[in-house]
Symmetry: C2
Subunit: 287 residues, 2 copies
């Protein structure tokens, strides 16, 4: 029988479990020392079923690790001004340590204005321009959760980034752009691709490290994966399908994130870890 190469899976579920265990320990210590549990406010506009599910999952995880969550549901008719006012209130509220505005905020909402109403020290989801600049310049601050989760996965599997070609497919404000900046800060040679990129295949073939983050099922063909590449699939598509043709990629990549069980679990883990960071700072404890 011929030898069939199969990539090693990057187990986001297992790593997230470790991050969450450590987060629970820190939350317990903080609560014991201060008498106050870390508190995450979750803001949800409308009742989009996927968003409702995401927020419910995040709140359930909060409860498991000893973080209080304060749910702020708003009707689908909420205006940008009303949403901004609500978030500004949470930014001022000393009982709230972190703020999550579930994305997408809904049609007709200026999501950027709403994000910017989050105080930088409570931006545990890493969505403000302040956090983006911090990620870009290596300054103190929170990271966007999915990019942060990707970096933790790469580190857990000892992926060497310095000098390597990293290709990011997607340039969204909370995923593609920031993960590229985090990779650049770690000395990768970073290429941003997107919907307007000509000949995506040829760019993908250059990648030592490939991050797909567009949400188009199987956009990237297995045959375009460079042999030995590290492949991170951050695409969310119906039916547990990623942005990368996983079957094809498995035979070429050295490391690959499964979908599900790769990037997804890390996103929540980073969110909760940063919520405890925020609470620790706001409650005046040295982390």
């Amino acid at each position: 029988m011929p030898h069939v190469h199969t990539a090693e899976l990057m187990d986001g579920t297992a790593l997230a479990r470790r991050v969450l265990a450590e987060t629970a320990d820190r939350a317990a210590t903080l609560t014991r020392r201060t008498g106050v549990a870390p508190c995450l406010a979750t803001v949800l506009v409308g009742e989009d079923p996927a968003s409702v599910t995401y927020v419910r999952m995040k709140r359930a995880r909060c409860a498991k690790v000893g973080i209080t969550s304060r749910h702020v549901p708003l009707p689908a008719t909420t205006t940008t001004a009303q949403l901004v006012e609500t978030i500004e209130g949470l930014s001022r509220d000393p009982d709230v340590h972190g703020i999550l505005l579930q994305h997408p905020a809904g049609p007709g909402i200026d999501e950027r204005a709403a994000f910017e109403a989050i105080a930088p020290e409570k931006d545990v989801d890493g969505v403000t321009t302040h956090s983006f600049a911090a990620m870009s310049f290596g300054l103190p601050g929170f990271v966007s959760c999915t990019p942060g989760g990707i970096m933790r996965l790469l580190d857990a599997y000892d992926v060497d980034l310095a000098g390597k070609r990293a290709v990011v497919v997607g340039r969204s404000a909370i995923l593609g752009r920031p993960v590229g900046m985090l990779l650049l800060a770690r000395d990768a040679t970073v290429t941003y691709c997107h919907s307007r990129t000509e000949d995506l295949s040829s760019v993908v073939r250059e990648a030592d490290v490939l991050v797909a983050a567009v949400g188009r099922p199987r956009l990237i063909r297995g045959q375009d994966i460079r042999p030995g590449a590290v492949v991170v699939d951050a695409g969310y598509n119906a039916g547990n399908v990623g942005d990368i043709d996983a079957e094809g990629a498995l035979g070429r990549a050295s490391l690959i994130t499964p979908v599900p069980g790769g990037v997804g679990p890390m996103t929540i883990a980073v969110l909760l870890s940063q919520t405890v960071d925020a609470a620790t700072a706001q409650l005046g404890l040295v982390p």
Copy 2:
């Protein structure tokens, strides 16, 4: 005689002259309507000869276009705290519309902290994280002057960016990183290279649009320029030498910025143009 291909020069001196003429017109109109001339504060720490010359050039240009400049020289012994305090004072001063802190601020100074003391609405040099995020997300705000000048040059020569491979060599906070973000916002496929990049030549050979911004004389060899590429040399080196081997590049590029007379003049032009923008906004006129 064989035909020898020679790239067309992108004439930054001529374009800067047009931008400055338009800036002078706008400054004159503003002054006539409000009785107040636009005012740029120039902050210089120490007496580094190159920095002294740059500031003198900028102030002379201000005078030519009807912008008042207020020079704030500080001793080389200035601390970060003193510099921040000075800049915060200028940020509050209603008579000052724009603030330039000459880079580099000097050894021992936390330049990032000093930059962040500039009020976003007075950041006409585009050095704050606020401006960086604005450039990155296409939000209203000022651009870093050299990146902004490069984009104006590319536009003046009708360079098509959408879908094209743009390679930025250099990742400084006020040049490499922001020009990459501006190119990405214009739908280029953007690659960031830097000192840790492995096999720079092969990356450079991919570039439809090449921006060199590192300050290492002739780092990029002419033979690595893709035939027909658009070549922007933003490198500053002694002896009017750019980062690119100009002789070699001339025979391969379609368009190239000369050194001097390419990017350099545009930097000051964008600074002064943005100073008039800032004054217009602060004096309450609709631009």
